[in-house]
Assembly symmetry: C2
Homo-oligomer: 333 residues x 2
């Protein structure tokens, strides 16, 4: 590494430490130095203090009142988001694994934490939106019919619902990956894609982006390019929805099928197909000794609402929620 | 392959043959069977005729008048575009190589064919658009200041400019790759990304998508998500433009630098940096024994026009043009 790259990297790591620990209040140079050492940077307290001073000057960190230590500013968080794109190419995969690691859902008892997407919309649109979501869920184009609805001021995971808004949390498709990993099956996210539905049946992927090579969430790309057509799917049985492909070792196929079957009984589903070893699924390739699994996108219900012209802001892979907080959408609409 | 996948593949290949040969008029079963054999499908005339009959019924192929053989319909072309996404993941790379193979530009004489992007816009907006394009080109954020302007009814490569429109062809950044490949240096397209410019200097990639894992053109994704900010770059010296990273064998570095230097003298440029072996460029990783080269996106001038609120339709990687048809933009504005 050139020396300039080295300093940039160190600054990035300092900001990352502050960002990750921001809920615990200001952090001092000693704590930061210790955390950096865990990550492989051998640097003392004094050097950290030197960098913090520069970060203060750049408005990326600041002191809070008379407390010792620093907190990260909004500008600092933006800097972390933008820096080191090389790490963020594949960033989505890192984020998926991080969330899965925080899950503790137990198939036996049906209790524990799952990964959720969060949508925020104007509260007067809630009923209309839930009706559309329910239709998508009924067709099996969402991984679960469970939702959590939160009113303004209430908290959903780490988010507080803003004034005039309502929050709808839905089950994210990586929850299925989490169930498999929880049983010891290594899962690798491969592609996010646009899946064509023909006469009520999934036909083929018409576009796809690899999770590993992208700093953007592939499904979010297709959604924001307005390439989906849920209303056609609902009205005519044919159209385009979001789905993704992951793969597992071929030898884990039978166990995976069993887990997926058990999950269905707990309202966790959305699996469209499980391939044979190295078999392409809906046109997407699967490597030798691997078995592909296609699951519908967790944001399908929310993007369908958007397609109906309702303003809705959707954050995929956003929260870790206890499934006991969620209810079947039929209880609401 | 499951038998259903096999038939789908064969049908796709028949349609591909018809699509590629459509400018030569209807093609008969015998010609198609021969072409399929070249591609590794051992199938006779009779079997091809059987499939053509079904394709006719589905509206994907048709006869033309009393002529023997079939032509592909618009619906058939759409089918080819949508089918086999597995092949189209990395499709952009295939298309790039195909275009480069058709180049024959000679650095010595400054003559021959290069790869161009094509933009179409309303003819009354031509002057305003050219002014913006010129500014972007002057700053060095396009691979060349050369353009070809075509009026309605005129042909640019394979495109005829529609009524009321004007066409502006600009040099595509893969022309630089073509120059290197022409001299025997194997080039691999890696990432298309969003490059942050700070105070007039390229600073870092803030987002990127790998060419190999995508069925969409990465630069087109960032452009359509309106993530660029050319007007800030022009007015304040800081903003975000499109650029891409390719790599070459480390041992070819010195020769590549020489070729790139010679190309500059011929108004072909846009290279922002050439790395050391395995050195990350603007935050994007480069593999061991490879050297990265970052080139500005050829569609930058056109997307800047779009950002100024002018309706413009831009097709990247669209045409093969003789450079003698192109003029320096200063001759027009």
């Amino acid at each position: 590494m050139r020396s300039k790259e080295k300093v940039r990297r160190l600054v990035y790591e300092i900001l990352s430490v502050l960002k990750e620990g921001k809920h615990e209040g200001p952090q001092g140079a000693r704590v930061i130095a210790k955390e950096l050492q865990k990550r492989g940077f051998h640097i003392g307290d004094r050097a950290v203090r030197y960098h913090l001073k520069h970060l203060d000057e750049r408005g990326l960190t600041k002191k809070r009142g008379s407390l010792k230590g620093r907190i990260i500013t909004e500008k600092g968080e933006e800097e972390v988001r933008n820096d080191l794109v090389g790490e963020r190419v594949g960033f989505i995969v890192g984020k998926i694994y991080e969330l899965i690691y925080k899950m503790n859902y137990d198939l036996e008892s049906g209790k524990g934490k799952i990964v959720a997407n969060l949508s925020l919309l104007n509260s007067e649109k809630i009923e209309e939106s839930l009706k559309i979501m329910k239709e998508i869920m009924k067709k099996g184009y969402a991984p679960s019919p469970l939702v959590k609805i939160s009113n303004e001021g209430e908290s959903v995971g780490k988010t507080k619902v803003p004034e005039g808004k309502v929050g709808i949390a839905t089950v994210c498709s990586v929850t299925i990956d989490g169930l498999l990993i929880g049983e010891g099956i290594p899962v690798t996210p491969r592609f996010g894609g646009l899946l064509e539905i023909e006469k009520g049946k999934p036909n083929r992927f018409v576009d796809a982006i690899a999770y590993q090579g992208s700093s953007l969430d592939p499904l979010e790309v297709f959604a924001s390019k307005k390439m989906t057509s849920y209303l056609n799917v609902l009205e005519k049985g044919s159209g385009r929805i979001l789905a993704n492909l992951r793969d597992i070792p071929a030898s884990a196929r039978a166990e995976a099928i069993e887990i997926i079957d058990r999950a269905k009984g707990n309202d966790l589903n959305g699996v469209l197909d499980i391939g044979a070893p190295a078999e392409a699924l809906f046109g997407l390739p699967v490597e030798v000794n691997r078995v592909g699994i296609v699951v519908v996108g967790g944001i399908n219900p929310a993007i369908a609402v958007e397609e109906r012209g309702i303003e809705i802001e959707t954050k995929p892979l956003e929260e870790i929620l206890d499934i006991s907080e969620m209810r079947h959408i039929q209880e609401f609409v």
